[in-house]
Subunit: 410 residues, 2 copies
């Protein structure tokens, strides 16, 4: 993988130019992508900014995020060749920092569950996860040092875990969603993929204009190990990876205790699909009314069923979420972070499914920051999620960095 | 003015067809709009749905709301001729109900403070208010029975008051903003204009899929009369109108007491522009970076100043809002609605300004439903705002309907 901080260090010491760094990214995409299919389109050749804190950083932009210089198709033929007029707010922000939004990356249609064509760079016979399939795969394959994704259920953390890259789903609305195709406005969250936790912490601190995000470093953090029984059982090797991460955290000075989430969290977890699908039915109403037959089968079925959801169903689901959010705030009063699995297990075989978001969706509904830390081992990657209280993305990243370092030393 | 409920009644009793109702709206626009300039463009002739609970209702769509069959220019030459691919979610919803999104209505540029060309139908020498200038004016001039606006500061309630029409800024996110140009995602709220409170209650109940919104009717409601001292003094005739509305409410059976909002509300009121402008800087980052000189002067200056806002400023402002929201919830525990002025006074003379949102912005930041009730009298219109707790749009409308009726009987 290509590290953002390494590129920036080489630019700072004069051994690399921003132009050279972007050229190298173009070459890596040309070499690697034909077998991965993570990249849909590449920005036209243009002058590369040589100044700015992210100069020289080529960024992958999930194709539900508007770009003014490249088509944006939302993973659907309904929008074939569609050219937005403006950049999304997050794309403008990247440009203002000197970064180059270089490539549009593959997304499942409208960031739903129907797979994209991308394969897992660790093993092309397996899914890279979704819906931010191309962004996770492009970073994992070493094509790009940074990529944007979005998460409504588990669309950032799951592909990061399956591809073995660091990623953050930040606090809700820390990054702007203006110019991002909506699936569910109460849930959609822009996230970042990178080669290491330090890389994404640096990028997030800059993009979110909050230097403290990178500076946070709790000493001897208090962690809670949490298994989310209500969501079913993870695979044995996912639980083993979680245990390895917890032991590594302890060796690095953290205290770790078990946390069983009380009943309201189970109800909030069960309420997530209602919030999501009632909003998706509205957000995708035009596509459903005018182009239902052009929607892919899983999304079409999901929207078919969503027609029967009622406003009272939705209001009740929102109340469950609200209750659990208040309770979670209390839970975080004496812990720095929650540690749980990032996915059910390793990336499933085949490209017929992007996997399951069951261990992600509660946290998306809670709006809290979640970081995927890859856990080194044999075979396809596994990851653990580090979760902090709302608004404390720096703490989640600091704990994640600590665990990442301890796992590497193990 | 043209009443939505009247049109629906005539369609129900067979004296009017939906096609006839839409044709009549086209004719009224052709006759009235040349002197008002509320309507920017009209939908191409097409078959009119004859069924659906809003069949025959021609709707004005503020031109920051995407329509697939008409250009959407956000009140700015930067987007001259821009054709979105999809309808906004709220436009799709109207079509699903049988309504016809017939006209794009004039908006200030990006729903900011630089005036549109629309004049006040009550007196063309005065502003209609903004930013939803065309929607308010088109309803006031009897061209359309229903129109969509948006409010970030006071962009629904102010023009409704200036033009003398009923309007609601519903609870935050009761109506979807997907496909609506963002100014501030924490504030932007889609609202409705109509000829009477009963008209907009009927429309909102249908559009929001919540029949209870129309059915609510508190007996002998408890009202709090509130003057918002921290926002300065309203004009004497605005205060007189507020008093008239309060006395009318009492005659209709309401109890009315005075409410002085405690200090945290003053701080929240003062925090509104920081929330708004920090988000606007991101939401309009592409326009500012690529087309700064094409932005109108007030908005350009606002965005210039917004470049200096910091994330800690914004985070502190959001905390003030959060504190006030919790306090407001407590305040509403023993009152049904707050009654306050809708604007500083009558529509100012001239078209150089759209007026002042100082008595609206706290409530937008609180996310609570606000209804404008026109107060009959001589000269240009005045209005009062009826405000209920978050999520209880039905109660705000029921109290507003009661006051509207009592004022008419006076």
């Amino acid at each position: 993988m290509i590290s953002l901080l390494d590129i920036r260090a080489r630019i700072a010491d004069g051994t690399l130019s921003a132009t050279g760094a972007i050229r190298a990214a173009r070459e890596r995409i040309a070499g690697r992508d034909p077998s991965i299919r993570a990249v849909l389109r590449i920005a036209p050749e243009a002058a590369v900014p040589e100044s700015g804190p992210l100069a020289g950083i080529a960024v992958g932009i999930k194709d539900i995020i508007d770009t003014s210089d490249m088509a944006t198709e939302f993973g659907s033929g309904i929008y074939a060749g569609w050219r937005p007029r403006a950049d999304a707010a997050i794309v403008s922000r990247l440009r203002a920092l000197g970064a180059v939004p270089l490539a549009k990356t593959a997304t499942t249609a409208f960031a739903g569950l129907d797979p994209a064509a991308t394969v897992n760079p660790r093993d092309p016979g397996h899914t890279p996860g979704g819906s931010s399939s191309g962004s996770a795969a492009a970073v994992a394959a070493g094509m790009l040092p940074l990529a944007l994704g979005t998460q409504t259920g588990g669309s950032v953390i799951r592909p990061a875990a399956f591809c073995g890259v660091a990623a953050i789903k930040p606090s809700f609305r820390l990054l702007p969603t203006v110019g991002v195709k909506t699936f569910s406005w109460a849930l959609d969250t822009v996230g970042l993929f990178g080669a290491s936790v330090a890389d994404i912490a640096h990028a997030l601190a800059l993009v979110a204009e909050r230097p403290a995000i990178e500076a946070s470093a709790p000493e001897r953090p208090s962690l809670a190990l949490c298994v989310q029984d209500f969501a079913g059982s993870p695979d044995a090797d996912a639980l083993a990876a979680l245990d390895r991460a917890a032991r590594a955290a302890e060796r690095a000075g953290a205290s770790v205790r078990d946390l069983v989430l009380p009943e309201p969290f189970a109800r909030a977890w069960a309420a997530h699909p209602t919030v999501q699908d009632f909003e998706a039915r509205q957000a995708l109403a035009w596509e459903y009314a005018e182009h239902r037959n052009a929607l892919p089968p899983v999304l079409r079925g999901q929207l078919d069923r969503a027609q029967d959801l009622t406003a009272p169903d939705y209001d009740a689901a929102r109340r469950e979420a609200h209750r659990a959010r208040r309770l979670l705030k209390d839970l975080f009063s004496d812990i720095d972070a929650i540690l749980t699995v990032s996915s059910v297990g390793r990336a499933p075989r085949g490209l017929g499914s992007t996997g399951d978001a069951r261990f992600n969706r509660l946290w998306t509904l809670m709006g809290v920051p979640c970081v995927n830390v890859p856990v080194p081992g044999d075979g396809l990657p596994l990851g653990v999620q580090v979760i902090a209280r709302f608004g404390d993305d720096g703490r989640a990243l600091a704990v994640a960095r600590m665990i990442e370092g301890a796992l590497r030393r193990a």
